[in-house]
């Protein structure tokens, strides 16, 4: 045979083999494995099943933006969980990269890990769209792609998240209940929003607003944008207090330390507050709840990465998995706060307290991670 013939024959063979092996998950009926941990999003959530592969597996985490406390805690959690005895033996190789807010680089990194023969890729997407090509390649190569936190607008991949709409509703409902208990049925409510244009911000805000509307009381909602950032939030809350005088309650999506700081600086009386899971915020609730700071703290946990990794391994083992996994909301109110258990008075304000998910066997507490040095984790 002449060389071109050999090459073309090899090429046709390659094409045939790839088209034959075109696979990906199969849509099956539920229930899925370990429903305590991998709870389906809703009754309509479909179930997926990948062909079982023998372990141990090669798993990569492709992060986008890096540089705030939450992402750093997430990366540390991922590394610590990979060393956890419950999963260590199932992981042959584990790699974490951060691409920055750069869609082509993130897509390239995912494709690179597919090319390197990784079995599962866990990612926080930099955009809710644009992953069609890598999804197609992942399916072709039977790679399990698991977006979490900032998920994709698609039902073609398995995803892990907390229910942001529900979070908004719970925050608002808590504030309403506390106000009722005080005998307040009308007044101004301050809503602090997050990063504009983000689906998480949108869903949380919808949840908050529809709950107040449904209540029927004469509530006037004042919305300010705090970008989930302590500094920005403190500024906008201080401005709002200066303009409006007094609020009956504050419902904030994030930057909760800033809310507390602004209230205390302005000499605003303590009112019911809803917020995220920053340690400083919980410290403040524990300290001032007797004086009227009735607080609720619900967080988007950096520990989601561990559940996404666990879900990836479970899918690779051939288990039936929900397409959209709803991680239970970690809720704590002023009634359940306990020093050393769900907040830490001796630790800094800016880490996220919720990191553990006992039903999933994810038992890596935030403080234990933040206390470790880089050297310990390497």
């Amino acid at each position: 045979m002449k060389l071109p013939t050999v090459i073309s024959a090899a090429f046709v063979g390659l094409m045939l083999s790839t088209s034959l092996s075109l696979a990906g998950p199969e849509v099956v009926s539920g229930p899925g494995a370990d429903p305590e941990c991998f709870a389906p999003w809703s009754a309509e959530t479909k179930y997926m099943q990948w062909p079982a592969k023998p372990g141990p597996y090669k798993i990569a985490v492709v992060n986008g933006f890096v540089g705030n406390g939450w992402r750093i805690q997430m990366i540390k959690t991922a590394k610590a969980f990979a060393e956890d005895p419950s999963i260590k033996d199932k992981i042959a190789e584990f790699k974490v990269v951060s691409t920055g807010t750069d869609a082509p680089a993130q897509l390239g990194a995912i494709e690179d890990f597919i090319n390197q023969g990784y079995d599962a890729i866990v990612t926080i997407a930099v955009a809710p769209d644009g992953f069609d090509r890598v999804i197609r390649l992942a399916d072709k190569n039977n790679v399990v792609l698991v977006p979490f936190d900032n998920v994709l607008d698609t039902d073609a991949v398995m995803q892990v998240n907390e229910d942001q709409l529900m979070m908004g509703r719970m925050w608002a409902q808590f504030a309403l209940d506390e106000l009722k208990a005080k005998g307040v049925t009308a007044g101004k409510i301050l809503e602090v929003r997050g990063l504009p244009g983000n689906s998480v911000d949108r869903d949380r805000s919808i949840g908050i607003n529809e709950t107040f509307k449904a209540d029927g009381g004469a509530w006037e909602i004042v919305s300010v944008v705090g970008n989930w950032d302590d500094g920005t939030t403190q500024k906008v809350v201080a401005d709002a207090i200066a303009v409006h005088g007094q609020f009956e309650a504050v419902v904030g999506q994030g930057g909760s330390n800033g809310v507390i700081q602004a209230l205390s600086d302005a000499g605003h009386p303590w009112v019911p507050v809803a917020g995220e899971s920053e340690n400083g915020y919980r410290k403040a609730i524990a300290k001032y709840s007797g004086e009227g700071l009735k607080g609720i703290s619900i967080g988007q946990s950096p520990g989601l990465v561990a559940i996404a990794m666990k879900a990836a391994v479970s899918a690779l083992e051939g288990n039936v998995m929900p397409q959209l996994i709803s991680v239970p909301l970690p809720v704590a109110t002023y009634k359940d706060l306990e020093d050393g258990k769900n907040y830490w008075s001796d630790l800094p304000d800016n880490f996220f307290t919720v990191n553990e998910f006992p039903p999933c066997g994810v038992n890596i507490s935030g403080p234990s991670i933040m206390a470790q040095t880089e050297a310990d984790l390497n």
């Binding site: 920055g100 082509p104 390239g108 090319n115 955009a127 244009g197």
Partner: protein, 349 residues
């Protein structure tokens, strides 16, 4: 030292920054392929070219204003704007798709013309003028696409981000399995797009009087003026070309992600990276020395450095630090020559 004055030796001496970048790129990419489990495969080449196209075009866009001695801070924003435009217009029948692509590129080019007019007739420093127009571009992008999304034709998106085989197979131009075709069917389409635009647009432009005037302005604007060159035309042309290249980046980004996203952070990051790529490629930020092909190589060097984090185990929180150090080393390589010379004029000998 007769040999040192020969034309070839002079070319090498005058382009040492560019040659250094090429050697660095070849060495880095060779080692990457050796370490990669699927090194030297077509799939890897396709993946690598795909993720490099946007930054390569943006680096080329940045080069032209830099050659004038200015900086264009709007290139990332124009890419974002054209990305959003493309996510609206690049769909439908083949004719509509083609028209959509032309509209997208025209948007970028028009924005470049506007930049040029503001710089020339508004008599503003390019860095300030483009800072403002960049904000306008991002504003328009957010207006067109307040939330990420949109639809770019699936076929075009698949065909243009793969090898020639898939391109031919998707559109059925001829039998993709034909024997004569098989020897180059593996060539990635994005690679061809970059080569065609880089060599088909930049090189002809460089050799026109306007193109040479751009270099002359960067070297000595006063001398260029005294020589009777049309400075205004060259400046407007430079920003126009920058707008066109940024439009190419935005269009490809839309095709690659089949969507549009008015991501402000990404626009900023890409603008900064485009400047870094220009410097790594050996183009002087003072103007007059370098070229778009050099920046193409510079952008690839930047990208290949980040490829390494996927195959070498480096602590994820240390990766930005390592990337910065390697980048600093790469930029310093080009500066060695300047440290050695006694008289700076010797650099132009």
């Amino acid at each position: 030292m007769r040999n040192a004055r020969s034309p070839l030796a002079a070319t090498i001496r005058q382009n040492s920054g560019f040659l250094g970048a090429i050697i660095l790129l070849l060495v880095l990419y060779l080692i990457y392929n050796l370490l990669h489990p699927r090194g030297f495969s077509a799939a890897l080449l396709i993946q690598n070219t795909n993720e490099s196209v946007a930054i390569v075009f943006l680096a080329m866009a940045q080069t032209v204003p830099v050659l004038l001695g200015g900086l264009d801070l709007s290139v990332g924003a124009i890419m974002t704007l054209t990305n959003c435009v493309a996510s609206v217009v690049v769909s439908g029948s083949p004719q509509q798709i083609l028209l959509g692509m032309v509209v997208t590129l025209a948007t970028g080019t028009a924005f470049g013309v506007a930049n040029g007019l503001i710089v020339v007739y508004g008599r503003l420093q390019p860095i300030i003028a483009t800072l403002a127009t960049g904000a306008i571009a991002v504003g328009l992008a957010l207006f067109i696409r307040p939330a990420p999304g949109g639809t770019v034709d699936d076929d075009i998106s698949w065909a243009l981000t793969n090898d020639l085989y898939e391109l031919v197979d998707t559109y059925g131009w001829f039998d993709a399995d034909a024997a004569w075709f098989s020897s180059f069917a593996w060539v990635p389409v994005p690679l061809l797009i970059v080569i065609v635009i880089a060599f088909g647009v930049w090189l002809p432009f460089k050799h026109t009087i306007t193109g040479r005037t751009v270099y002359a302005i960067g070297s000595a604007e006063g001398a260029a003026y005294m020589s009777g060159l049309n400075l205004d035309r060259a400046k407007i042309a430079a920003f126009t070309l920058a707008g066109f290249f940024a439009g190419c980046a935005g269009l490809y980004l839309a095709i690659q992600t089949s969507s549009g996203n008015a991501d402000i952070t990404q626009a900023g990051a890409y603008t900064l990276n485009s400047i870094a790529a220009v410097v790594v490629g050996g183009t002087s930020l003072l103007g007059g020395v370098g070229g778009a092909i050099a920046s193409l190589v510079g952008a690839l060097v930047l990208r290949v450095i980040s490829f390494y984090f996927r195959i070498v185990s480096i602590d994820p929180l240390l990766q930005p630090l390592v990337e910065g150090l390697v980048l600093l080393a790469a930029v310093s390589l080009g500066a060695f020559r300047t440290l050695r010379v006694k008289n700076q004029l010797a650099l132009f000998r």
